[in-house]
Symmetry: C2
Subunit: 244 residues, 2 copies
């Protein structure tokens, strides 16, 4: 496989209500690229959230007594804690300054995905999109390509962050090698690769965090279009997880 | 960033004592590639283990009474369990047929990395390399490029497997954005990307599981050579982990 991942320059500052697919198509074109069959567009959560108006001015937030009490213990802004709790179905772990939540979608991540970085104005934060799989499907329809919406998550056991898929359209979540045979004729028993997460990880690296490049084109991945694909399918239910 | 990941064809069957760097250099050349400055070679654990003789015939293994008892409960081969326990510092979780271990290196993975797939003869298994960072350094010296040794791991919270780095040379484990400013002038507080893992994830996807392509060339990643880099640095100590 010859996989190519190219970050896209010149994406304009996205504001609520803007036509994101037009902006992305224009940025891809001005980078000297055009979508080819099989291409996948990776986009960070941040620009999706901005386009969808999932952005909050902390100045407008009145924290509850509970948020104030948690914020004091964790050295956080109580208004930020208030937003995090609103975005959470469940607090999974809290220790020191780390608050790991399960979002209403079922993602387990720090601060329920509420993020202060790469936002135009200080004092504003972005929330995760309401339904990232739906956001991905809309973009895929408008752009005519596969779409993966990424966010940057921590991991258990291993330090550092990697990008993972929070919304996908057309692209399969998994590559399933179960029951296939390796070159020696032995049947593989358990290998189900989380393809959308692996592509997200590489796209997140190509996009970086400071370059103002919130999108990347992935070319050369060998995939078949999947109708009912979703990033939600990547989530392991808590009752099947040995560490929750 | 324009990242390219190309799987390498024609790697011969690697057997103990073979000169792995010669085999890989030949395979890269016959794929029409040659190493350029900045290239990184990703190699699966499997071929490193085979070259280093980290391969065991289950027929030669006498399981202990403890291995027999675990094997019965988990529907596993007692000789396989015996090998897994020998490779383990600690059993982290055991439930159903799943045995998650901490290896002597500190990797937390299913079956302590002992693997029956992609092995030439049925009834043989590979063990992880004794010191994968040292293995990576040796390859990097002989090939004159960055090296990442990958293995396929499960994750917490999310279904499916992704490849991660178990040995690295020259290549930084992390890209550190902490203290840098985003395009809006706000300082990033916590973003430390696990670059070697993200590259491993993409390389694992490009290599697949059934194509007989245990190596890939990664080109276009923007990195600076790191002297004292290691995959061991990616491991979070249990006392700092909120889920162990």
């Amino acid at each position: 496989m010859n996989l190519q991942i190219v970050s896209i320059q010149n994406v304009p500052e996205i504001r609520p209500g803007m036509n994101l697919s037009e902006c992305l198509r224009g940025a891809v074109r001005s980078s000297g690229w055009s979508f080819q069959p099989g291409d996948i567009l990776a986009v960070t959560q941040k620009v999706i959230s901005k386009a969808e108006g999932r952005i909050v001015n902390l100045g407008d937030v009145v924290p509850s007594a509970y948020s104030v009490s948690i914020a004091r213990r964790m050295s956080k802004d109580p208004r930020l804690v208030e937003i995090i709790l609103r975005e959470s179905r469940r607090i999974v772990r809290m220790r020191g300054e780390v608050l790991i939540c399960e979002t209403h979608h079922g993602f387990i991540c720090a601060n329920a995905g509420v993020d202060e970085s790469n936002v135009e104005h200080a004092g504003w934060v972005t929330l995760l999109p309401k339904d990232p799989d739906r956001s991905a499907r809309a973009l895929a329809r408008e752009l005519g390509c596969g779409v993966i919406i990424t966010d940057t998550f921590g991991r258990v056991w291993r330090d550092g962050l990697v990008d993972a898929a929070i919304g996908i359209a057309r692209v399969p979540a998994f590559l399933d090698f179960r029951g296939k045979t390796d070159p020696y004729g032995h049947r593989l028993r358990v290998t189900l690769l989380a393809a959308a997460d692996a592509l997200s990880a590489a796209a997140g690296l190509a996009m970086g965090k400071t370059a103002g490049t919130p999108a990347a084109v992935i070319r050369g991945f060998e995939w078949e279009e999947a109708q009912d694909t979703s990033a939600a399918s990547l989530l392991r239910p808590a009752e099947r997880d040995l560490f929750l």
